[in-house]
Symmetry: D3
Subunit: 331 residues, 6 copies
């Protein structure tokens, strides 16, 4: 994946997205004439996959003065609970206001990337596609999908996320297309007719008929041009079971469609992925939605550990620089 | 709270934040010359507090043609699992692309508002302040805090959220101010000196000393001008316990500072609020962070139920308009 | 239901089905010249519904001499744990050999009747049909279904059971009929054509197609002559869910088939019946299989409490007649 | 054990024990003139020990025409969940009516055999005797005990079961004998006097006195002719504990009766057997009752997989022959 | 019960049983010339029954100077978690050394009394006899049994405990007497012969024979002079069950010994007492051993709350006198 | 540790602490003229560490006649459930009265020693000091601490316990000293001034201020003479956490006080010790209170197994001498 280019929006740079007490702190310290050089250390409350550090770097590059030192782990690195992942030394006035944004970016993105990684590890090589844009506010749909890619997903559904990650978005067809066209085979033929060759033809086969029956109808209608079917059975119909996938596979094979793949989506979690894997279910890819997009953020804490070179810390923390040989200087 | 004015960003209007299959569907249907009038119904996967509907209304007002009908519940309404909260009748081409954004806004905002409501109900009248901006990506810090206000919070920490909700942001002081000024009393005196009269003087009393000792030192330093202390004891020191608040209260009272209030923050959840309430702990307000900001989105589903006036639905759903007398026509 | 006539098979009367030590005991006592008048009391290890007592009565009537007293509760009576349900006073040689058969009949039949009663109570008036003949040895298929009727079932699937209970057996159609005829509508039309008028036309609608789709196809093919559909979705397809029944109901209603009922079968238990009832699911009847037919027998114990009029008992039991005013003299 | 000879009763051959819909299906298909050659496959819902297949073979040998193929696993074979254990290819009219009986025999017998096997494996070589005839209907007492022998039991108590299995039934003496004779030693002496030499003299020692006391009294009365004692302490007296057996063993040894064995019965399960084994309790044999006889049947399913040579199957199953190299052709 | 007279042993008065740091503190304060008047408050860590306060009062009466105030709850009072049960105001040197003894007496005695009360409440009027002297060091056997009486027990087994409580000790006979005399009836006759009339004749009936058998033998041997039997079946024989007591009762009644009572002992807990009560078991008294004698002490804490009249307290406690209107001045 | 000298108090020798039925038994047997030689065996109900056997030996040496044999395990030996740990052969009249005291001493002392051993094993070499004298009656404070030393504790707080164990008692300073002197540093300086050189100077640092702050203040005030600090944070302040110890360590190190050790006390259990060890927390010693002193006694049973050389035993036990090669003859 190519290098993302994060642009920091004005609402962040203006301090509007900050906790108000940082704005007040800036005002008080300015009136007191205080602007010491400080060292801030940032660490997570749980272990996981670090994500968002590139966007934070873009923010820091914008606001920090020339005299600064920034040390960090890299995008996608594993991190331990309480491990320092970012250390900033600079005059406080230049970046104190952005503490809310810095820890917020890391919290949200690392939460998503960590959940994605859990799915990827469970899948043992079978690709995971992030399908969760529909469960988050559109302002973060892109950065959520980007984080999922950092966590190891092979693709994502949102155009914005794919752009950030430097890949092409993935997608089959929504139920709406089939309902409007009135029939799954008709809709799939239209898809095949109008989409460019590089878009794989994957049909969604649970809209009107039994999945196995529909799979055969579509495969026959498309001839050799059907790449895959996607099973997305709703919970009202029992969801997608291991037995269902095996049966669809067997019926496709019996009818001579061995080359048609099967994708599975709908309520997928690492536990269910493991269940499919352990039962030897022939899945070509999993679409994962809210397990990734609804992952709880991993809270980060920012602490001052030095002021003008003197070790200091609040109660509960240890004064002075915390050694972490994994950190690399990035600025 | 005044009426928020939501502005839909270009990235949403352009379809960039959409799942790519909606863009492809638009292209296919246009090439097929299909643009039927359809009715889409949207419902949540769990019960809770509906939030985000005003932002969705702003989006629909921008994109829908004159010929349309939109029915909805109102911002902040309670909603049942699977209850239809929004029904749109219009030509599909005008809004199909925005399905991802519509359900994403509702999912994320309703998740936050519902979690806020749980805290508010547990607190039985004691105000809840949303402090969670630091745990979400800054692009949604404002809309998260706005949702918390919709859920019943009395205030929030981010400037952006307060602006959306038409109130003033709340905040005391961060540990950084105290660490830089070297002493809690000194920092609180500076706060009192430079902040306008309408900002209440609330001191954070767990930075360097025992909370009870620090409370008395600050109260004495400020004389009658200290409004409250905030206890935010880190988990490394056992967190804020019911006994601690009672003791600080008793020691303040013994020293004649009966008018100084006590705010509590740090890992607050509805269960912990209930524990404080049941033990008669004298808390003036709770600051709640990740319980609200890290709430799991409440997934919403959008289904077509009519095409050109004919009832239709995918398997697992019931064709035709779903009766819901609570819906009001908003467009 | 009419009075069953139980015929005791030769294998029972010859003592072949007995535990061998009862045969040996008969031989020893005869050689010792002992044949006292004894009183035997029989009680269950758990509470439940008493069943099998009519068959036991038929056995006793065959083997007991004129000089005898038999007291018992009635077929279908509720019984408490350790309550005496049968008391026999007669010379031991006449019936000692049949202890195995007597307690075996009561154990097996009461187990089935008790499980049936649990379903019936959960269903709150909706009829329960016993479908479990296929899970027991055919030698007891009839007596199992008879016991289910004693427990409150409205019907049963085996011809033998129905005969014992004096009713007509119930049944729709097996998957085999549909598979052989190749199509559900075709099979249902044949059923309608060849079955006499008093057999209700109930179609099994999960063989080849989605249940809702198939229900509409069959209802249309049969015109007004379809009495009901039966949903029996296999676990590989998620089983029959509450939502599925509601949807089939709605789709039948939308198409004008309000008079077509819905029967549900497949893994039905009292818990699942309660779940359907509590969710207001419009079910016309439940088919229950292994919950009834696989019910654990309720073990019964037979103890001698008097020998030649003297109270006696083994350790752990109380000598002499155990008072139970609910017992009626039947012989 | 010798080869059992199963005789199929008329009530089965006449179809009386069948589900009525199979009788109706036969009538409909005959009226439609349909009698295709079909392939039926039968598989269990859980893993276990296959039993009943010899009786099913006897049934099929009676009813199938010359043109048929039958493949099966053998009596007593282990089987996996969903593994095909029986495959029949023949014209449907010849055997369709017997589906209820076929799966019923396999379900009930395999349930018993599997429970027996669990006891046998727990006992690590110590013999298990099936004592459960008293908990089932006498019509199946024999086939139940036969199934227990197939599962690995060393003996059974019913004469009918022993006959089917080609062995001699096992048994000690019932409490009734002792109560009638008034004294355990007297009863045991009578037993010894009248029983032929090949019946081992085993006394039941919990009727009137403490088990240890009674064991010594009987051993002394019988001199060297006592083979064993059986402990069957009722739950009202705490059941048989590991410590009790050890003490009886020690007291017999102290009195010089080292050759007298100890049998244990009463509420025995695999867990309790394991407990005895792990505590090194010197047990010569376990009598197991309702754990085996009350075992839940293992439900079997019969599916058509071919009609006139064409692969077919209902939803949830895979059309065509299911490969299973373990099957052997038996007809 | 009469008023106990506690005598404080020299080892306590000399400070030998104290924690050494109190001895060191006395030395340091004396060398510093410090001996302020202080107020100490003492409270328990759990709710329960206060016991030991009379012994503590005896200690304080011995060591405190004339100028002192002591407030306390009374022996046997219920107390809440953290409720002040004792407040001492006096010069520190006079009593500081005894803090270990004061809280130790209250902790151990209140633990025993509280456990006794739980049994008494479960028994709903049936007398409880404390039998636990054999599970504690003999130095505290008396004070343990005294505490059990304070908690509500009707009697105790140790002579020392009975003396402290002003009652007569209770007891039947040990197994040793029966084993030495060789027979339960013989031993009971000897007991009856040599014990004065006011000692009730209660026989222990589980030594050599079945309890029911032995009860009848002893009752017949004693004629009308047997007061009761005690069942103490060891766990190796399943312990005393509800059914056993009912059976012994029935057999005694059948034999005309309605006036012979039944006492139960062996592993008795409040839960088992409740089980007997709920099953209507005719028990005349329960002997309770290790549930009472092995009760965990209820830890007490002693805190200084005033020094020379000034409120003070360590962190975690509230300075100054803690109001408790239930306290009465006792010195 | 040197050899303890146990003196048996008159209240034990007089039989006052005995269960009254042993006194009565003595009287009855004397009046019957019975005083056989008997063998008594004593065994525990659970495995653990044997303690109290030396005190029992002192008692037996006082009361047994010349003609006797006593076999036993040694003080501190591990013992199995039901293993004979003491066997006495002598005329019954000489020692029967002391059964209550013998099993009581073993029960209480072994309970304490076993709990101590669990802490010692968890601590993997870090010393454990018994601090629980304040939770038991002062009459057993010494023997409790002695038992803790037998179990492996490195020290104890009571003077009496240390004397029994032949060591010097351990202790730091109580909160009372600090509260009276008004300040932790002042109190620690006084301690240092007045205590002899061999008493290590350990300061209790949680009385008035944050533990880390106070540790630094005291260390600075004492210069190089501070041996250690003790953390004993009350539960109202979250107790002592692993993070707290690490932070205090770090702050002491930063300030140059690497030689000052840290002791931890307050609610310590084996589980919490393991937690500290697993997290690499630098603790120099643990003070354990109620986990040891409130340990449940391990009940012991005393059974007669021979009378005048004849094997005998009550039901549930095995007559005759129980072989145990680990026993050594001690008298």
């Amino acid at each position: 994946m190519s290098e993302p280019k994060f642009k920091i929006p004005d609402s962040v740079l203006s301090g509007e997205t900050a906790d108000i007490y940082f704005e007040r702190t800036r005002e008080i310290l300015r009136k007191e004439g205080l602007n010491p050089e400080v060292t801030m250390e940032i660490f997570p409350s749980h272990s996981g996959i670090l994500c968002g550090i590139q966007e934070v770097e873009a923010l820091l590059a914008t606001v920090l003065p020339e005299k600064r030192q920034v040390w960090a782990l890299s995008e996608g690195d594993p991190m331990e609970r309480k491990e320092v992942v970012l250390r900033i030394t600079a005059h406080y006035d230049s970046f104190g206001l952005y503490e809310t944004a810095i820890v917020g970016i890391l919290a949200h993105c690392s939460g998503w990337a960590t959940a994605a990684r859990q799915c990827v590890e469970a899948a043992q090589g079978i690709p995971i596609i992030a399908f969760g844009a529909r469960h988050v506010h559109p302002l973060v749909a892109g950065v959520m999908d980007y984080s999922a890619i950092v966590g190891g997903c092979a693709g994502c559904s949102s155009i914005a996320g794919a752009k950030l990650a430097g890949i092409t978005a993935s997608g089959t067809m929504p139920h709406a297309l089939i309902i409007i066209m009135g029939d799954t085979a008709t809709a799939t033929l239209a898809f095949d007719r109008h989409m460019p060759g590089e878009v794989p033809c994957i049909s969604l086969v649970d809209t009107f008929k039994d999945e196995a029956e529909e799979s055969l109808i579509v495969a026959e209608a498309l001839g050799g041009r059907l790449n895959a079917v996607r099973l997305d059975t709703p919970s009202e119909r029992g969801g997608v079971t291991a037995d269902l996938v095996k049966e669809v596979r067997a019926r496709l094979d019996l009818a001579g469609f061995k080359e048609v793949n099967i994708f599975v989506s709908g309520g997928i979690t690492p536990e269910r992925i493991t269940h499919f894997i352990e039962n030897g279910v022939p899945v070509a890819g999993f679409g994962v939605g809210s397990y990734i997009s609804g992952a709880k953020p991993i809270d980060f804490t920012a602490d001052l550990h030095e002021v003008e070179g003197r070790p200091i810390a609040k109660r509960g923390r240890i004064p002075g620089i915390t050694a972490n040989p994994r950190l690399k200087r990035i600025m």
